[in-house]
Symmetry: D2
Subunit: 348 residues, 4 copies
């Protein structure tokens, strides 16, 4: 088969590799029908993710068709159309049984993100999915691939690590710092679950325009004076919840500066360096600050909302390519702001 | 009457001042029967709390007897024996109605801690309590002053900002960094509410011994190797909850280092400088970090537990003095480690 | 002033009565600008509510303008435009402080519903509101009277006693038994807060049509075969939540029959007789069954949603009258099904 | 091997039957070291449980040693000492993944209670455990069989269906109607998790005495005047939570009558007939009523508490027998009140 192989920092190629095979009885082999590239894949190519070895097929999102299952798989069979979760859930360890497969303890790394990281991933024609019973989802007939593919990772991340971790309540004012794909996923799901006001904050005009399309009630250009503008959109005390969807010290500090006493700050961004927290001012503010990897345990819930037409997940995909055009798709996604791209859709 | 007046950094005196009077219809005047000194009072004397003006009577804890009430007070009358909450709750602002009087918006500072801070406090023979209906608690007959006085602030702080904010669940392993009075208040209330293992961490041998008396199942001497010892007391992944009860960058960083993925860190300590968070490692750990001032809304619950004998709050008081001996009591409390003191009890 | 006075079963009159006056310092006098009639008012006229004395001005919903306040009122002043809560909240008793003013203990009845019940109500030109600081809400400029009037009781009841008590979660299937005004209030708020499917069940075609307009995704005619139809709209196991908004044994038993194992049944209906529960079948089903009077503590949250345009509360009002035409309005509302009426709006 | 076989109503025998064998790859075979009889087993023998076929080996509690595992079992191996959960959890169906194995959908009955019900059970020398990874628990070395055996069903039932479903909060007054083995399990776990007052209610003096030993602060003899006595132990309004642990209409009605407005009623009892609820009085009381089968998902938490010495589960066992003396043990347990028995312990 063909797959996108990472060959060390800055080097990738769409090349012929051996087909994956069933290894454990709980495996499934899935033929990729539709997939997409994640910001994390860009980081891998930059060499920022030390735990990805050269030779690894990358990618951790996708919709496909089951072509084979091991003897221990009970929920899926050949021919089933499935969403592949970005998190591989063993289902039996203590973290998985507690509902936290992001820290699945069945592997040495103690992490649920294996696809395109510790094992071969989804930017390929075929992929092996361990623990298939827990790591795949059936796709209802009325849900298209272009809707379903964003339920592997993008929407669950914005929803779980942003909206749920941020404990958004009906009536809340929510500020989202960074309105790229993940920030927009938070906006889309926040707007649906009862926020009264959603404020998108970014430096990029295209992204701010998209924020409005995804459900933001207001947008603010990031930078000088942004905090005052956000506070003016509240009762003067700040937002109930701020969601950080970038991953820099300044953006996290901005998010912290936007919330009121008793506020929540939900960090989604992947950080590369330490961040200084102004604890001399914060200790008395009764803030709750959260951070984390997605569990993707909300995929089922989000799928119901997509199926009933209440979430328009297809809006995440702005550009479509053939899977074999992946280099071209990569370039578009790597220059998302300039290309006015959110997520690229790759079709087999 | 006599009261302890702050006259600027390093200067205090027990002196004669005018008696307080009813100012608003919702006020009560309380005669102090039993009071105590808080670590925050030491900070005030050091000049660390800029919002305390010279001339202020300090103190925010106490048990006393109502001597007068304004016309708008309905829950209390002359002669009632009461606990004075360290938080003055207006009851009607949005924060108070939502259950968060720590950020009461009825005053310019937007803060519920007024006594001995913005208005005269409880280290005095008499004190004026605004919003008495919301800021006093009736004391059941079978609860002594020596038990009740620690429900003004100490126990609620350890319980609310430590145990409740840390979301301690039955079966949890809880690590408490700093086993002074507030850390011990967390240990006492954590042990009662279902933790399976409570680990006290401190540098001071007296405090570690007290930790065991207050319910810690294990103690660890802070410093080199402490993290490894704590992890060895868990399944190797760390504690479910770490409570910080000191207020330095290192102690907060220690607390953060002790929790497992999905863990909670509850900061109680008052910080004076920024703290660097290792977000490059934490972002993926799904931590929840909280911090804050006490609401003292748990006083009623804790009072029921004290009344039924299930919390032995009197263990917090190690030394007893006459109120007029306050200078002597102050010296003991200011040298708590050396004096083997937790809290001092001052009796009228 | 003029007011609607109840003179015993079957007897009411719009007549001249003395103006209300400030009695306690925490009172306000409000001039009614817009009001409405509740199903409970119909019950009162039928003589079903024994605790309403002859001579009582009835009504407990309304929007108006403050014309006078007592000295103890701090949140409101003359000229303020306000929503009158159907629940009079003293704010200081244990139930009120815990957020449950429906069982306010400041009166002998231990109940928060006083207006038009134990004291004179809102179907009048003027009304006295005790505990005004806790029982009124400011109306934002961009919210009309026709939107605001349904936040006194109707919307909070459908939302609190239906949606919140029923613990509706994102993705849930919710069945609403009875799609009159209160059932529709549940549908309107359920559809907003993440339900994936909302099934309205009623015998009346007009009401079922309205159910769709208010956000139901499906409707089922009550009676023979209805249960099977509802189950067919789920995975065969039943709804996650059933909301009962009628008040008869059969409708509550229907609601119970519609939920899956682990389901929730939220009873809103006012019952007049005991109801037999099939506990021999239910004990193993892990159901949660709730019931209750509204607290109206959600009015602030709902008001934010109305102000931001996310809840169209004005859809509840189908007919508008002058306040002095109240007898005509009453007749329309008392024959709601025939008149194709939901709620009537009465304007001063 | 030898096992206790049910041969239809009133007929059981301890007889020789074939040894169980691995059927599915996810099975384990466990040699029973310690087991016990459940009240449900008595019901089965009476013929009350129509879904138990003649020829069935009964029993669903036990501690034992793994003697064989299928190829798909990863958490357990030969020689492991284990607690057998009364609930067989497939782990992969939607209910199991949501944490509700009591309604596991992997079998036709849609129920997680299979052992000694739909498949052969634990009153035997050997037992086959399907889905072993999800249905067994490792026993720590410092926990004895006599402590562990009550974590199969008794303690989890009292805790989950009573304490957790009843939402007991710190400071609550909890009334437990029926202080047999399951009611005592609720008392034991309620007293640990922060209740301020626990009132045991029963007709039997031995059981009431045991209630005090298990942590009740007060006991009341059931019958005439009991309600008044319970209310007098509260502020006059009733208990926060009432737990029903019997299963008759009168006992459930009693439990309902004991709670205050906003109270919780948690039904644990197995009911055989419908129960009339006084909805004409209850609708306004804002009660929450729950009922259900145990999930046994709390076994891990309770095991930590037993291991740390905070729950003394061994107090449940009042009589010990050899497994082969099961007929004698049965007679004692079937006459528990007369024999002053709670649970019988059967040792291999």
């Amino acid at each position: 088969m063909k797959a996108l192989v990472y060959h060390g920092p800055g080097r990738k190629s769409w090349e012929t590799v051996p087909d994956p095979k069933i290894v454990d009885g709980t495996d499934a082999i899935v033929r990729i029908d539709t997939t997409t590239i994640c910001g994390t894949d860009l980081h891998i190519l930059h060499g920022d993710v030390a735990t990805v070895d050269a030779g690894r097929i990358i990618g951790h999102e996708g919709v496909g068709t089951v072509v084979a299952v091991g003897k221990g798989v009970t929920n899926f069979k050949k021919g089933d159309r499935v969403i592949i979760s970005c998190i591989t859930k063993c289902g039996t360890c203590a973290f998985c049984q507690a509902g936290f497969p992001d820290h699945c303890q069945s592997n040495d790394a103690g992490i649920g993100w294996l696809l395109g990281h510790r094992i071969d991933g989804t930017l390929a024609e075929l992929v092996r999915i361990p623990h298939a019973d827990f790591s795949l989802h059936h796709v209802p007939e009325n849900v298209t691939d272009e809707q379903a593919v964003f339920l592997s990772d993008s929407l669950p991340t914005g929803y779980e690590v942003g909206v749920l971790a941020g404990a958004v309540k009906p009536g809340d004012v929510v500020a989202v710092v960074g309105t790229g794909a993940v920030g927009l996923a938070s906006i889309m799901t926040t707007s649906l679950y009862g926020a009264s006001r959603i404020i998108g904050i970014d430096t990029n005009a295209f992204r701010l325009r998209k924020a409005k399309e995804f459900g933001a009630t207001d947008t603010v250009v990031a930078g000088e004076g942004a905090r005052e503008k956000v506070l003016a959109l509240t009762d003067g005390l700040g937002a109930d919840v701020a969601i950080e969807a970038v991953g820099y010290p300044e953006t996290l500090q901005t998010a912290i500066s936007l919330v009121r006493p008793r506020g929540h700050v939900a960090n989604i961004g992947v950080h590369g360096v330490p961040v200084e927290f102004p604890m001399e001012a914060l200790w008395i503010q009764n803030l709750t600050i959260t951070m984390g990897l997605v569990d993707a345990t909300s995929t089922g819930t989000l799928l119901k909302m997509v199926a009933s037409g209440r979430i328009k997940s297809e809006k995440m995909g702005t550009h479509t390519f053939k899977l074999k055009e992946i280099d071209k798709a990569w370039d578009v996604f790597a220059n998302a702001a300039k290309e006015k791209a959110l997520k690229v859709v790759l079709k087999a």
